[in-house]
């Protein structure tokens, strides 16, 4: 039977024409294929995005013992999961900052020759108030409060 005669036959018998019914089935098949694919791909994408790790909200940490940092020296300490830098200045004052360079996140160090905080990656320089004074860093380092408690040097987030 050629398609034209079938159409006529269907119309005459009162049945719906076959093309719409077929396209409905095609649509149904396509939709379920998409749904299946979605059910597979969605978990995969969710799996790949790393979960948020809850940071321990540490506000205060013992950065060093007094004896560890003589005048004109610095020390990197762990503040939560980020590094901090404790500086014992030549005049005998304690200073503490975030040790993460504001340029591209290298870890800074104290230089006893220039008496500055220095980032070795791109020669960024900060003074002992944490202000960016040379090289590429765009912002000062975040400053923390320092207290001494007996032999402990305690650093507190501002």
């Amino acid at each position: 039977m050629n398609p034209d005669t079938r159409k006529t036959a269907n119309r005459n018998s009162g049945l719906p024409e076959s093309p719409p019914r077929r396209s409905f089935l095609d649509y149904l098949l396509g939709a379920s294929a998409l749904a299946t694919l979605g059910a597979i791909v969605y978990p995969i994408f969710k799996f790949m995005s790393p979960p948020q790790i809850v940071e321990s909200a540490e506000n205060s940490v013992v950065a060093a013992k007094l004896s560890e940092v003589p005048p004109n020296s610095g020390k990197i300490f762990k503040f939560g999961n980020k590094p901090g830098i404790l500086v014992h200045t030549a005049p005998g004052e304690f200073k503490a900052f975030s040790a993460v360079c504001t340029h591209l996140e290298c870890i800074v160090q104290y230089r006893d020759d220039t008496k500055q905080i220095w980032c070795a990656c791109h020669n960024g320089q900060y003074n002992l108030s944490g202000k960016n004074i040379g090289g590429p860093p765009p912002r000062p380092l975040e400053e923390y409060k320092v207290n001494t408690r007996g032999d402990d040097v305690v650093v507190t987030r501002g």
Partner: protein, 354 residues
């Protein structure tokens, strides 16, 4: 117009139309035992599931004695859908071994290894060994108690083999004991060595199936219909694969794979410890073998016997090669049925005994 020109460009370089013409002609025999043709493809599909979920697990897994257990714990508790991906990886591994066994026994009983398909069979036997190695090495990776002891026992079994045993044991363990060094090694085998080897053998196996076509059992040789591979057979394959995904998701959701307790080299083995089900029949056999047989170590004899059987598996198509040899035919059927019964009975016994 644009699409047509891109297709033309590609066709000139890759001659897709030639491939398509070949694919158009590809046919699959249709007879009472056609159902068994689907199990090879099913095994391959489950292998693909293993590759995808395995790569995903690699994003978070850490292969060291200090971190492995915690990283798997992290995957199943913190990572979104981590429990699902990990459970599917474990379940799919088990189903793959099951479909592989079904595929192997169906090929054996239908004698699909007759000339010229000997190498197809041998490459399949290699794939069986590779898949078992996958299972054994992957089992250790979560670094839990069961895995730790399973690896101790499994590598010890390799060590029992005379002369070569001890060096093999040291090679597998990365030392004299099961330690973090073993874990790193097994990880390397599981994600690099075995996948590379498997890829080569799968390529050979599948290429040979294409070359020789599906084997038709002797009984139907002159009396069978044909079915187009594209789209008829592949559509049927597809339905099987979609079902498999459904089964995997259901199993993973209803029976999530347990993690157990972290391995401890100084804790006693937990009571009732058993290997994975596909090693159970060997485990049970070794439990029943008397300590001494004719003055020799029963255990050593048992292990050697399994090795000999594995070797026999490889040379099956070279012993039974004449379709007209009815007596050999019968002997092979009896051996096959006996092996199947032995595996099934011993697995059940191993499962129910305490």
């Amino acid at each position: 117009m644009r699409i047509a020109s891109i297709t033309n460009w590609l066709d000139e370089r890759l001659s897709i139309s030639t491939l398509a013409a070949v694919a158009q002609k590809k046919e699959v025999p249709r007879h009472r035992h056609s159902i068994w043709y689907y199990f090879g493809g099913m095994t391959l599909f489950l292998f693909a599931v293993q590759v995808v979920t395995g790569i995903l697990l690699l994003l978070y897994y850490r292969p060291s004695a200090e971190n492995a257990f915690e990283s798997v714990q992290f995957i199943i508790t913190e990572v979104k859908f981590g429990w699902l991906i990990r459970s599917i990886h474990s379940w799919s591994a088990n189903l793959m071994i099951a479909t592989l066994f079904i595929h192997m026994f169906s090929v054996f009983f239908l004698r699909a290894y007759y000339p010229p398909r000997e190498i197809t069979w041998v490459s399949g036997a290699f794939l069986l060994i590779i898949v078992i190695c996958f299972g054994f090495s992957g089992y250790l990776l979560p670094w839990n108690k069961l895995a730790f002891f399973a690896t101790k026992v499994g590598t010890e079994i390799a060590g029992v083999v005379p002369i070569v045993g001890r060096p093999i044991l040291r090679f597998l363990r990365g030392g004299d004991d099961v330690t973090g060094a073993t874990l790193t090694r097994f990880f390397g085998f599981h994600v690099a060595v075995l996948p590379a080897t498997a890829t080569v053998f799968i390529a050979i196996h599948v290429a040979l199936v294409q070359l020789h076509g599906m084997h038709v059992p002797q009984k139907y040789e002159h009396n069978y219909q044909r079915m187009k591979f594209f789209p008829n057979f592949i559509m049927r394959d597809l339905i099987g694969w979609i079902l498999a995904i459904g089964v995997l998701a259901a199993l993973a959701a209803l029976f999530p794979w347990e993690l157990g307790e972290k391995a401890d080299a100084f804790a006693p083995a937990p009571a009732g410890i058993k290997p994975e089900w596909y090693f159970l029949f060997m485990f049970q056999t070794l439990k029943w073998i008397p300590a001494k047989i004719l003055g020799l170590d029963g255990e050593v004899l048992g292990i050697m016997a399994f090795n000999v059987i594995a070797l026999l598996l490889f040379i099956v198509p070279f012993i039974d090669r004449d379709p007209e040899n009815r007596r050999r035919h019968l002997i092979f059927n009896i051996c096959g049925v006996f092996a199947l019964l032995f595996i099934v009975v011993m697995t059940i016994v191993g499962y129910v005994t305490k």
